[in-house]
Symmetry: C2
Subunit: 827 residues, 2 copies
């Protein structure tokens, strides 16, 4: 066991590295040249313009204002200053609720820490178990941290009742905080949904497994079915093309275009020499050719192929998958269709809410029911294998990657390898590196598994991946750190033990691992979060792109990578901290302050990030909250079982009986919460749908919904390659007639599209322009024909960018009440 | 272990008792006086008239036709002769599917038995394990049954692969049979639902937890809510009164009336002496009074009280519970409301399909959401207690009921008790009798628990009780017989064992218990079923009632107790036989023929009973099938785990690995079936609803649905005490205008009501006649105004009762195609 001074050293190192990251961040973010790395969100919102357009030449790249450096921690209060309603408006409900998870951590653990330090630490410290034991055993070593943990209480001591009491208090408090938070988030969600602007997915249902029909095409069959079974509500539908090959071509073309740009830039800078490339893979081998000609010709070929493929898909009946987006005249009609069963065969005509258009994962729409079931089964086995046998393939690769095999495959390396020092490095570090590589690849593997499972929305993919990753962390990081041996060995051990022995086996090791987890919190938590804010990888990539690929402002915009909250990875990690905090709260309270620092620091960092950096790919309205809630309760129950096992070994079996109601009560609490709140995150009640419909009918009697929805769910490749990454819906949302957001005045497109495109006159956009431009036109018509009293909140001040200070005014439908003028200072 | 000859003796005894029961049944059922006990169904259908109305006086009571006695087993082919479609028409889908469970048993076990006897019995018999062992151990005893079981195969023998292979074959066959049966039952159900006549529950949704409103009464609030949120579909609603006290009074009055009839009859037979009674409990003590006067006066008082209570309930706003039956214009509207969430608070406005009016359990409609959750929690604990600690209270009562306590409570019994023989009987048999009493009470206890849980339909109550009873049987009969000790001790044992040890512990005892279970099958299965057909208790009660209470033909009808399938008890028992068959199929195949005899015999008996006796209280359309399917799969998986454990002890651990995929595959099969079929038993798809609506609209454009539904869901006590046990819905169904069933021509009421009442002119019926008679009138009007071409199938031949032979013609909407003329011979 590490001593207190070891911990202190580790803390010092980690604090230092965290501070270093922060200082680096503080300096880098002040440089105008990095502005697009650290404040991309404002660019996307159109509130900031490129810093290159003003000031002297040097000032464009380096910030020379010394005063700014002195206030280098200013971002912290700035991040905390934005009030929550505005945050929701600015970054979406998902992000706003995400940072609330950290806040919830603080709410749960601050009082618990105070109580634990007030009650348990004195009880443990005066327990004198170690002193007695060391009197008997000379070679027993113990340190101050051990003296503060439950290990210092003698077995069978009456002091253990204090721990039991505290376990109850902690559980009650946690449940109270959880319930309260669930209530608040539910309220936020309902408020958000009630005030949400018109979106195509509110009217649309995704129908899967349309059965084949001998006489009718899929499109006709869908139309007839819904005309018959939802006669008063059916509006229109959109068939789905299997355009996966086409989408690949579009991506390929983009890569080629990047290379072309790169070589053109190179040629421009050095007009004397035409750049050359090799025709092989990644330009590494093959014939030497003129690069610009080569790529121009490649792009031309691909464009032709793309056109042909586009034609083929649009005209080939077999390219239509048995899936359709069916739109209804009202939200009520859509809600009814999404929540009911259509056919008496439950494997056909499966209806569910359509995801947001930008949230659709198009590749999976073609999978039929039976295949889906098989895929889920296979992935269940794969997940089991991944979790419990993940060491097996690694060990296999590690054995393969020994010196002999390397010599066999690359005989020319032989002299190098046989050097003693190189040999040592390979033998010593290679296994570790392979493990590290695997761990880095893990999120990708898990996401691929979720994709294979066939989910059809990015949000679902992320949620499912988070569940898998959580299981992995729980088994391999938490249990794996406590008990040595691989997960498979653990599993075998558990199967051959009595079920009551498992918590005992694990529980006993818990106090001994406290110092390890303290170090883990500092390394993974503190330094990791500090690294997050520094954004080293996007910084490097941006500058690389900026140097080699950027020609126009538009290119620079594309080079900007704001990223988004990586839900599938971040959330399970937070859960690990919840688990650690809950497990150690009654055992070794010394761990708690470290957890609190993690939550507080993360809260600030992520609040800063969602305000200034991240650009979410979709908006689910916090549908993930039931998962968060459930996992915290799982953590709570694990902590209770382990504490039970620990107390059993403390010869306090009588006292143990007092603890048995605890997990039962907790489980009941979970059931109660589920009954009370969960459906608010899964279903859209008819009452709310009717309210929105009625309001809309009253305020916009002339709305042409059919036109509004016409191309909302067209596969992005048919909207023209130029608009590929920016589906139309966002434009539509911005043009929503009732309330105009500021965004519509500043810019209309994020990536791609000429300025005409962005203004909604995209008649020139290529391919699949089935209905593209018409929507905008209809919108515009509606805009201009609107009665004046509905055009509130449409006066928006421009981006008053004066010396990096500007005023931010929020005008939103949802928060018109809170039109406070907030002067947020940005350096 | 019992030897083969022991088994033979036991089989002989049980066969004898079964045959005795059958002979007694054959003789008793031929007596006209018992006709109403053994053929009540035909009386209820109006096809048979009372035998007392024809023939000579003696012939009215005793059958003198000797030839009839010779053909005493004739009922068996007669029971099998009725084709299934007709059976569904005659007895309902629930009953028809119920006997299919026995048929499924035959389908599963006949091929398994053949295979097991063809393959496993020779393999076991030549295993010679016992011969080897007995060569080593002199005192080892074994018998022929043991030689046929897996115990005769030496540990580690290659022969065990035959068992493993057979385990796979058996599982595959069982799954195939299960899947096939699920498919057939689903088809039957869909066909049944599609052809079902108009019923109020097709249009009605039960709304629970109507939130209180300051300004509106519950009725107004319901109306407004549904007018707003289902504007095109809402038709009407019916509030629910808390009339539990009133219902008690009605039952009480009925009892008093019975007593009055009893004494009037007594007086009529012996007009010289006015009968007297005592005023105390059950007439056992108290003042002696004139019985007829006493009961007349009591009834008068109660009638007044009843009237007052009825007035109070109808006028008191607090007597209205926050629950309502909401009816819609179409089945589509009702299906939508039942399947969707209404409010964003999932604890209010809870909607679900309304049960059939006769299926409603009125007492539970008043329970609010939170109370319901608490009740469920409490009952979960109670069920756990009942299952695992059920010996505790019995042991407690047994200790209380010893000689000393009896002496204390009843000192006057002292001299009697102190006789040696009496003492011995009390000490020897009392504990056994107490256990027996408890086991007899068990179904009632379980049903009470389900009632406390707050389910609102009789069908749900039965389904839930069946689940509880199954758990009880599984733990206390199956596991309890295999492992000695109470369930609680077993549980403790299991908790302290490793999970892989449990199947081993149980599995080892399995072959040793084969002879016990063979005896169990014969006693509980064979003799029990034979006793079922004899109907001894209803026989005695009918004759008692017939002697003392019957005055008119109507009274005789009321005295008749056809009974119904006791789903909550019978189904779990069948499941026990499935479990035994599956567990022993690969271990001791000798058990299988006994199981097959049970299934075949039960199939015949229950087919006879549902044709001739039972009168179902409700028709759920076989919604119970998913439960049956699930429990058989649970049995299958239990058998697999136990076989795995058994093989482990056979030192065939390598072979064991082959068995591991078996339970996983089985579970996956369960999931597949669930996905494929289950929703067809839970939800009513919109497509089907729309079809029925459209058909109805086309055939009956002038239907006044509002009037049809007006009093369908009125609490039975408000329909007038006379109609208490015969809710109107059955009449309405009979008057359904499209197709007239034969029933409407023969009789209209089953119990109660004068003949005028039955003809639908019930203007004279007392109290709560809010809308009672109007419905019938409207129906009649519709009947007469119907265009002639719709009045098909309305010619029905009367009951041609000639020498007990009559022709039965079926005319039904559902089976008009199969208008085969079936001459069913009834002795």
């Amino acid at each position: 066991m590490a001593s207190l001074s070891d911990i202190a050293v580790s803390a010092a190192i980690n604090c230092l590295s965290a501070v270093l990251f922060l200082v680096a961040f503080a300096i880098l973010r002040l440089q105008p040249i990095n502005d697009r790395v650290y404040f991309p969100k404002w660019y996307l919102k159109g509130i900031r313009d490129s810093p290159t357009s003003s000031g002297t030449y040097v000032k464009k790249f380096v910030n020379l204002d010394v005063k700014m450096y002195l206030k280098f921690l200013n971002w912290m209060p700035a991040a905390l200053r934005m009030p929550e309603p505005e945050l929701i408006e600015h970054a979406g409900l998902d992000s706003a609720v995400y940072v609330r998870i950290y806040l919830l951590g603080l709410k749960i653990f601050c009082p618990i820490t105070l109580l634990a330090f007030g009650v348990l630490v004195p009880v443990n410290y005066t327990g004198e178990n170690f002193e007695e034991m060391s009197a008997n055993m000379k070679d027993l070593t113990y340190n101050d941290i051990d003296k503060l943990s439950i290990s210092n209480v003698a077995p069978g001591s009456k002091r253990l009742y204090a721990h039991i009491l505290m376990a109850y208090v902690f559980t009650l408090w946690t449940c109270y905080a959880l319930f309260n938070e669930y209530r608040i988030v539910t309220k936020m969600r309902l408020h958000f949904l009630a005030n949400e602007k018109r979106r195509p997915d509110q009217f649309t249902v995704l129908v899967r497994n349309v059965p084949p029909d001998d006489d009718e095409s899929i499109s006709e069959h869908v139309e007839h079915f819904f005309c018959v079974n939802h006669p008063d509500h059916y509006l229109s539908h959109q068939v789905v093309y299997n355009a996966n090959a086409l989408a690949d071509m579009v991506i390929m073309k983009k890569t080629l275009q990047n290379w072309l740009t790169y070589y053109s830039n190179k040629f421009e800078r050095n007009p004397n020499k035409r750049p050359t490339t090799k025709t092989g893979f990644w330009g590494l081998w093959g014939k030497n050719v003129d690069a610009i000609d080569f790529y121009t010709q490649q792009i031309e070929t691909l464009t032709k192929e793309e056109e042909a493929e586009r034609e083929r898909v649009l005209n080939d009946a077999t390219a239509i998958v048995p899936t359709a987006f069916v739109s209804f005249r009202s939200r009520w009609g859509a809600a009814v269709c999404a929540q009911t069963q259509q056919s008496n065969n439950p494997t056909i005509w499966l209806t569910d809410w359509a995801p947001e258009p930008r949230d659709v994962y198009w590749d999976n729409l073609r999978i039929p029911y039976v295949e889906l079931k098989l895929r889920r089964l296979l992935m269940a086995f794969a997940l089991f294998g991944l979790t419990f046998c993940f060491m097996v393939p690694i060990a296999f690769v590690q054995t393969l990657a020994n010196i002999e095999s390397i010599q066999k495959v690359f005989p020319f390396l032989k002299p190098l390898i046989e050097l003693e020092s190189v040999k040592a490095i390979i033998q010593g570090y290679l296994p570790g590196i392979i493990l590290k590589i695997f761990l880095i690849l893990l999120p990708t593997i898990i996401m691929t598994m979720s994709k294979i499972e066939g989910f059809i929305a990015l949000s679902t993919l992320e949620t499912r991946s988070a569940g898998k990753y959580y299981l992995f962390l729980l088994v391999n990081v938490f249990l794996g750190s406590i008990i040595t041996g691989t997960a498979l060995q653990q599993l075998q051990g558990f199967l051959n033990q009595s079920p009551t022995m498992i918590p005992q086996t694990v529980g006993v090791s818990i106090p001994m691992k406290a110092t390890f987890f303290i170090t883990y919190v500092m390394v993974d938590g503190w330094s990791g979060i500090a690294a997050e804010i520094l954004r080293l990888v996007p910084l490097v990539i941006f500058h690389l792109k900026n140097t080699f690929l950027v020609k126009t402002e538009k290119d620079r915009e594309q080079a900007m990578d704001p990223g988004s909250l990586t839900w599938a990875i971040s959330e399970p990690r937070i859960q690990l901290y919840f688990l650690l905090g809950l497990v150690y709260s009654a055992v070794t309270p010394v761990l708690l302050p470290f957890i609190i620092v993690f939550f507080a620091f993360s809260y600030m960092v992520f609040r800063h990030q969602i305000i200034n950096v991240y650009d979410q790919k979709y908006e689910s309205g916090a549908t993930f909250w039931p998962d968060v809630h459930r996992r915290i309760i799982i953590g709570l129950m694990i902590s209770q079982f382990l504490f039970l096992g620990l107390l059993n070994t403390k010869k306090a079996s009588n006292a143990t009986y007092f603890l048995i109601p605890l997990p039962i009560m907790t489980f009941w609490f979970f059931r109660v919460c589920k009954g009370r709140f969960e459906s608010q995150f899964k279903k859209f009640p008819l009452e709310d749908a009717m309210k929105k419909d009625t309001l809309e009918k009253a305020t916009e009697p002339g709305l042409n919904l059919k036109m509004y929805l016409q191309d909302a769910y067209v596969h992005p490749v048919f909207k023209g390659a130029i608009e590929f990454e920016r589906p139309r819906v966002v434009d539509e949302e911005e043009n929503s007639p009732l309330v105009l957001t500021k965004r519509s005045f500043h810019r209309h497109g994020k990536q791609g599209g000429t300025s005409e495109d962005r203004m909604g006159i995209s008649e020139t956009s290529k391919g699949g322009s089935k209905a593209g431009p018409r929507v905008i036109t209809a919108q515009d018509k509606l805009l201009t024909s609107k009665p004046p009293r509905l055009r509130r909140a449409s006066q928006i001040c421009g981006p008053l960018k004066q010396g990096y200070n500007f005023e931010l005014r929020t005008f939103s439908h949802s928060f018109t009440e809170s039109q406070n003028r907030i002067g947020t200072e940005f350096p």
